[in-house]
Symmetry: C2
Subunit: 339 residues, 2 copies
Amino acid sequence: MTTVPPLPDSAPDAPVPLPAFADVEAAAARIAGVTLETPLLNQPLADAKLGLRLWIKAESLQRGGAFKLRGAWNRLAQLTPKQARAGVVAFSSGNHAQGVALAAQRLGMPAAIVMPADAPAPKIAATRAYGAEIIFYDRASEDREAIARHHAARRGAVLVPSYDDPDIIAGQGTAALELFAQGAAAGVRFDRLLVPAGGGGLVAGCALVRDARSPDTQIHAVEPASHDDHRRSLEAGAILANSGSPPSLCDALLSPAPGTLTFAINRDRLAGGLVIDDAQALAAMRFAATFYGLVLEPGGAAALAVVLADRERFAGETVAVIASGGNVDPALLARALGG
Amino acid sequence: MTTVPPLPDSAPDAPVPLPAFADVEAAAARIAGVTLETPLLNQPLADAKLGLRLWIKAESLQRGGAFKLRGAWNRLAQLTPKQARAGVVAFSSGNHAQGVALAAQRLGMPAAIVMPADAPAPKIAATRAYGAEIIFYDRASEDREAIARHHAARRGAVLVPSYDDPDIIAGQGTAALELFAQGAAAGVRFDRLLVPAGGGGLVAGCALVRDARSPDTQIHAVEPASHDDHRRSLEAGAILANSGSPPSLCDALLSPAPGTLTFAINRDRLAGGLVIDDAQALAAMRFAATFYGLVLEPGGAAALAVVLADRERFAGETVAVIASGGNVDPALLARALGG
């Protein structure tokens, strides 16, 4: 098992092991019956319009409305009884918040989530409804990670990172385990797999599965053009951060930089990063609703948006995209529908 | 195998056999790889809000945006080569139209569909995009069945009924075959199954499967209050028609009366009919988009609408509903979201 330098909050002499494919398989056994098997969707009408064969793995239909329960459950279910009593703390704009809150509720442990004050209202309401305590911070002036660390230390609680954690990455990878199994059952081989990326946990987990299940499939991270840290980091071969946080509708994809662990996995496995803008995300939300019957949030529609915006690039290919989340304000969905 | 009096267009001495559970199993083998396995969805947040355990079988995600491809494929795939060359004719407000058009396109046979001139624009556009010829009629003044018969006779084509046909009923039943298998895999037993009903083909097919797979599950037809022909027919023990066609947003559920075959199946198997109005259908569309990430059309949301409108009735139960279709005008969905 390869290792990377320790995370800042790890003991300095404990290198963090990278997850491997076997960890994804173990995660799948752990989450069985907790997460739903989300469908792999195909619509002939859309295929004809696009000139390619498109399959959508609809993680927007997952419990909690995003793939996040996979990783959160895989992490929380492995805590010791003592850790479980003290509970967990997480920071998230909303989807990881819901995943952690939902997992904690089912496992009977307390959860506190640090959320930006401007997070989408439905994400805040849902996180609260799962029984989590919510701690707001100001995205522009405060450091959410420092706030989360502070609260975790005060409670003796475990801080659950949203992506840079071996169990989180392995859990998210179970989405791809399902995807490739469903593809195989349908007799489909994928030329490409496009995965929305914030911190890169989902795409890293998927890349581990791709290696084992479909090594010829090219895998790409998709992100907002204003937050193209994965694209630039993959090109440079080193972690590069975003400069500040310019506005983007894709609230789920606004992490400051690729993670240490996720980038260690993604660096040698991804075929590059692809980017979209807000208008393309809204167009993809409309397309998903019209042709696939799916409600997607902007970040959840990012991979589909790349295919719509750049369809000539994929002409004749068989492409899988992960629709990573559907937690969107109804007013924003209505705006997308009217576009 | 029990029989019922022949349909008007059958040879007078040929009683039409009712489909049995084995026919649903045969249909499932026939449609494998053509239809998608649609997901059985559950959201803890909605369950907590409703005070029951709700599972949604999302046939809105099926190819063609509704369950109709199941029956259409099962019927068309059994035509003789000679019949296939002459092709098929169907009449439908849109979902059966798309199912037949899509099946015919894949099987390489010509299809003509008689559609009301006021059918939803996306359903007309999609049916045309699948390569079918469209023949419009006026819902208020013309007899769609007579028009369809005329065109079928002129072409020597097979008329494909939207519900009163053993192969159509058996095909639609495959949705319930998946539903009960998915429920069993999740360790779930359903107290009730609620199924939207126009002519009653879907609920009849589901009732055959219920008998074989989950005999303790109560099964209900759900329809618009303005078109409560199943409810009244089930109460009377005889087929009663709707009076005229009062307005309803549920364009997929406006058949004139229960079918001869479908009612022969449903009469002794259904626990009764339940009804909803337009406002309840719109509220269910909003709920489905917000809590399940699903785009539903009004008729497709009917079974969910019953649960929302009458949740005390189902308190503490485990309820399955079929979300039968998602082919809705974006403007109407936006209206529902704003509600």
